[in-house]
Symmetry: C2
Subunit: 238 residues, 2 copies
């Protein structure tokens, strides 16, 4: 093998490692999405078994976070990547804590489902159902954008976040009215409120993942600026 | 300058850059601590001006996050650090989003302070006051541990987290009783509840910073394991 072949071989191997790293993130993403879906089903159908399963599966997400993190650090140390390869590894390093926290929120929703064991189905589940479906779709699209490296799709997810904020505000208002009408409903209404809050957090984490994707693709940091500015920066060719 | 002198010069320069990076993190930490302190004062003394100041200062924290992040990536690309230097940069990369989110929680508490404009001082401020002071101290100690690279102090902060959870549970229980006794108090009690929740988050973020510090010093990941295991791993010499 001559020098050129060796270099080619090394960069081939490196590409495989980077692809593998991305696949691991997508695998973790799939698991997180499943956890959120199950937590929402457990909450709205009062399925205690499913809620417990979400609980007992959380360790898998945590283990993946640590493993992907170690692999990223190993790649940084051994391959010393630069430019877009470095940005990819940094995007992964930053995206995985977001995924892990979405897993935590799924666990939190499962906890609420367990707390409401035996409660009659509340009329306000409808509102939180709708919010849950919206947020689950956002997470799905954020992971899809990451899988396809699709900046347009990432921007679309970020546009949904404001709608989610309005939806959850409306859920809060309904619940407050409900609590003021019937004091006995307060503990259950609070559980729904905490679940809505957890969903809001999932939406925010999904947006953060999209921001890291845009950073990887465009090399531009799009945090802490308006959505209009994000769109402008994301559309500029690097 | 011979090769050895050049190498020494480069590593000297690199050390200065790493020290500078750590100082930037501590500067950001100081600002975040100030924001939390002011938000808590605004909440408990009904100081609207101060609450607004917390709001208008948040952009500074965001700007620091982006700047430190860029500097970290620049160091990774140019210096290609390994071993403990790499771990330091990775600890910084992971600690700054935690600081930024503590800043967000301070803003959230300031928002609650503004919402309660004109409300009479609630008796339950006392409980949230106490929780606030406890969490503020945890953040202070976490930053101190980071500044002194003090693993023992980091472990101490992590031990406080459980106490904070118990304290906030007790605040929630008091507030629920309060709400059930007087429906008109519900909106205000919810604001206090959200503030207590924000404080819980600050405590969790402070613990995460401590975990990253232990990772930097000991080269061991201490996430997602029991406190006893953390202490064991942190005490093992690397």
């Amino acid at each position: 093998m001559n020098e050129e072949e060796l270099q080619h071989h090394i960069s081939q191997q490196f590409n495989i490692e980077l692809r593998e790293l991305r696949n691991q993130v997508l695998g973790m993403g799939g698991l997180v999405e499943e956890q959120l879906t199950n937590a929402l089903i457990a909450l709205t159908t009062n399925d205690q078994q499913l809620a417990k399963r979400v609980y007992s599966n959380d360790y898998k997400i945590n283990a993946l976070e640590v493993a992907i993190d170690e692999e990223s650090t190993r790649i940084l140390a051994r391959r010393q990547p630069t430019a877009s390869d470095l940005r990819l590894v940094m995007a992964v390093v930053k995206a995985i804590p977001e995924l892990e926290r979405i897993g935590d929120q799924a666990e939190r929703i499962a906890h609420m489902a367990l707390q409401m064991s035996g409660e009659p189905q509340a009329k306000h589940f409808v509102a939180v159902n709708h919010l849950g479906e919206h947020v689950r779709q956002m997470l799905h699209d954020a992971l899809d954008a990451f899988a396809r490296i699709d900046v347009e799709m990432a921007l679309q997810v970020m546009r949904e976040d404001q709608k989610v904020d309005h939806e959850s505000d409306s859920v809060y208002r309904q619940l407050i009215t409900y609590m003021m009408e019937d004091a006995r409903a307060i503990p259950m209404a609070l559980n729904i409120m905490w679940s809505a809050r957890a969903l809001e957090r999932v939406a925010a984490h999904s947006c953060n993942i999209c921001e890291y994707l845009i950073y990887f693709v465009r090399g531009k940091d799009v945090r802490h600026i308006s959505l209009e500015q994000v769109e402008q920066r994301a559309r500029q060719a690097r």
